[in-house]
């Protein structure tokens, strides 16, 4: 039953080319195009500089390790642009049935819990697809840079890199799904696709303001309970810093990992619970 809901949502989403493009493909595409442009510009600048140096100076730029670059791409797979553009997919999935007045077509065919969880499941699949596309874009970025600059291409991953890669991807995935939960709650509560799109953006902006100058004005510690619980972005950054911390880096403050995990879990589950509770008592004949 839940599988029916997930599959039907995925089928419908797959037919919505605009939503899929803007949410999962646009940012990676921009990354590739921007990256190639960046490489071309830097090459011309470097060429200007190296023409004044020894002829083999370009060769001293070193090799491109695709394995290392993949880990770096995983670290930015839940960047701000991805978060915002993924909201297009989230809003479409979570509030599209209100906009198209199609709830009554499907609401009698499954339980309301399954209908909501089906949408969440479909968004998780979309998130995985978007992250894979972003990683591919990261690889293309690195490859194009190596080819444009004539660098040697290598691929080596040690155990630490592989662990970091997996953890960063998992963390990024949780961050995107968690952020989209705000869209779910906003969409169900307001029955509006625009609200599903913009409420998380506004909230995210407010949280970033609070996380930047806000906590300085309030004299909060970024690692304190209130900072971590109010700003899941800080929790995400804290966990990411712990994963990418190199050997010899100072240890994270005691209890920070727990606070960060609780913060992400809270922001993941509380909007979901709120949306399910509200949806269960909603009159779906009024769309």
């Amino acid at each position: 039953m839940l599988a029916d809901s997930v599959l039907s949502e995925l089928y419908r989403l797959s037919r919505n080319r605009m939503a899929v493009f803007w949410s999962a493909l646009f940012v990676p595409l921009l990354f590739v195009v921007g990256g190639i442009t960046f490489h071309l510009i830097t090459k011309s600048k470097i060429a200007e500089m190296t023409s004044k140096l020894a002829p083999d100076a370009a060769a001293s730029m070193g090799a491109t390790n695709l394995g290392h670059d993949l880990v770096q791409a995983a670290g930015i797979a839940a960047n701000g642009a991805i978060l915002v553009f993924m909201l297009i997919g989230a809003a479409t999935l979570y509030a599209g049935d209100y906009r198209w007045e199609t709830w009554r077509l499907i609401s009698a065919r499954n339980s309301r819990l399954n209908l909501i969880l089906g949408k969440v499941g479909a968004f998780k699949v979309l998130t995985v697809v978007a992250m894979v596309v972003f990683l591919i874009a990261g690889l293309i970025f690195s490859l194009s840079g190596a080819l444009i600059n004539g660098q040697e291409i290598t691929f080596s991953v040690d155990g630490g890199d592989a662990g970091d890669f997996g953890l960063l991807l998992l963390l990024g995935y949780i961050r995107i799904v968690q952020y989209a939960m705000i869209a779910l709650l906003a969409g169900v509560f307001t029955r509006s696709l625009l609200a599903a799109l913009f409420v998380p953006v506004v909230l995210g902006f407010a949280q970033s303001l609070l996380g930047g100058p806000g906590i300085a004005i309030l004299q909060w510690e970024p690692t304190s309970w209130q900072s971590q619980l109010l700003m899941p972005g800080l929790a995400f950054d804290a966990l990411k810093a712990m994963i990418t911390a190199g050997v010899g880096a100072p240890p994270a403050p005691e209890g920070l990992m727990l606070k960060a995990i609780i913060s992400l879990a809270l922001w993941l589950l509380a909007p979901l619970a709120g949306a399910i509770a509200w949806f269960n008592r909603q009159d779906l004949s009024k769309e």
Partner: protein, 308 residues
């Protein structure tokens, strides 16, 4: 006679408005069942409750053997409530595949094509829904209600927005659903002539209450009257009214007399003796419209027929 739907004392209030007022109704399995009523009678509210879209304030309903909202029972039903809407970026074919998937059915190309053909959308099957006319949306709505091959289908105004040939095709489709596919069809329509032609039984609702229920043939037979084409009309009306248990009303240039059939010879004798020239006298059945209007006390105007 098994029932597909049984409601007991079903009540729904919106603030101080009672949309349904203690409705008890049993809809038998098989055939086409019409639900009639003027605007605000509670038809759409009844359907919305039966489909689990809204909850009743009081009372209970059993649908396909399950309580309201019982998903297993709901999955044996199909429905089209009001003007259907679909994701605009999908084609008609994709809509049916999507709804099949939502129902846990594999995308069966033959089944999808079959229903598109039956509702007359084969040529438009691969066109985006955003370009569909209201009539085409209605056809797709009917196909969407039927794609999961339900045992019971609820159709609310299925011919709304259709042209006359389309209405005729839809009427034929509804009859075939009942007769060939064995699907119980519940139909709400303001087109009383359509209901009379298509339905086997009807329920007439007014202000949230059931005011009349029965086979269409019984309802119309009970209102048959003697139509008299006569001269002079005023004298005819006097004579008809003077007979015990009889009454007459003017309809166009004729008089419609209500009286027991057995009194027909006596009336005709009285008219001849009273100097009335009788051009024609024949018994006519009441149409559903007159039954409807007498039960609901409503006057049909274009607004009441078409407005929701």
């Amino acid at each position: 006679m098994t029932a597909v739907i049984e409601t007991r004392n079903l009540t729904k209030t919106y603030g101080s408005v009672r949309a349904l007022d203690g409705l008890s109704l049993t809809i038998p399995r098989g055939g086409v069942y019409g639900v009639l009523g003027p605007n605000g009678a509670g038809k759409s509210t009844l359907f919305r409750i039966l489909l689990g879209l809204i909850r009743p304030t009081d009372g209970e309903a059993v649908v396909m053997g399950g309580r309201i909202g019982d998903v297993a029972a709901s999955r044996r039903m199909g429905s089209m409530i009001e003007t259907p809407r679909f994701p605009p970026f999908m084609t008609a074919r994709q809509v049916l595949v999507w709804l099949s998937a939502a129902h846990g059915l594999k995308a069966d190309t033959a089944r999808v094509s079959g229903w598109l053909e039956r509702v007359g959308l084969t040529e438009a099957a691969d066109r985006k829904v955003r370009g569909f006319s209201v009539g085409m949306l209605q056809r797709l709505g009917v196909a969407a209600a039927l794609i999961t091959e339900p045992e019971l289908v609820i159709l609310d105004e299925p011919t709304s927005g259709m042209d006359p040939p389309g209405i005729q095709e839809m009427r034929a489709l509804i009859r075939s659903l009942s007769e060939k596919d064995g699907i119980t069809v519940i139909l709400a329509s303001h087109q009383l002539l359509e209901v009379q032609r298509v339905c086997d039984r009807v329920a007439i609702l007014n202000r949230g209450k059931l005011v009349r229920e029965g086979a269409v043939s019984e309802l119309t037979a009970s209102g048959e009257r003697l139509r008299l084409s006569v001269t002079p009309i005023s004298r005819t009306l006097e004579i008809v009214s003077s007979l015990p248990g009889a009454s007459g009303v003017l309809e166009g240039d004729a008089v419609l007399a209500t009286l027991p059939r057995a009194d027909t010879p006596a009336l005709l004798r009285a008219l001849v003796q009273g100097g009335v020239d009788i051009d024609e006298a024949r018994w006519v059945g009441a149409d559903l419209e007159s039954v409807f209007m007498s039960e609901t006390g409503s006057v049909q105007t274009p607004e009441t027929i078409h407005a929701r």
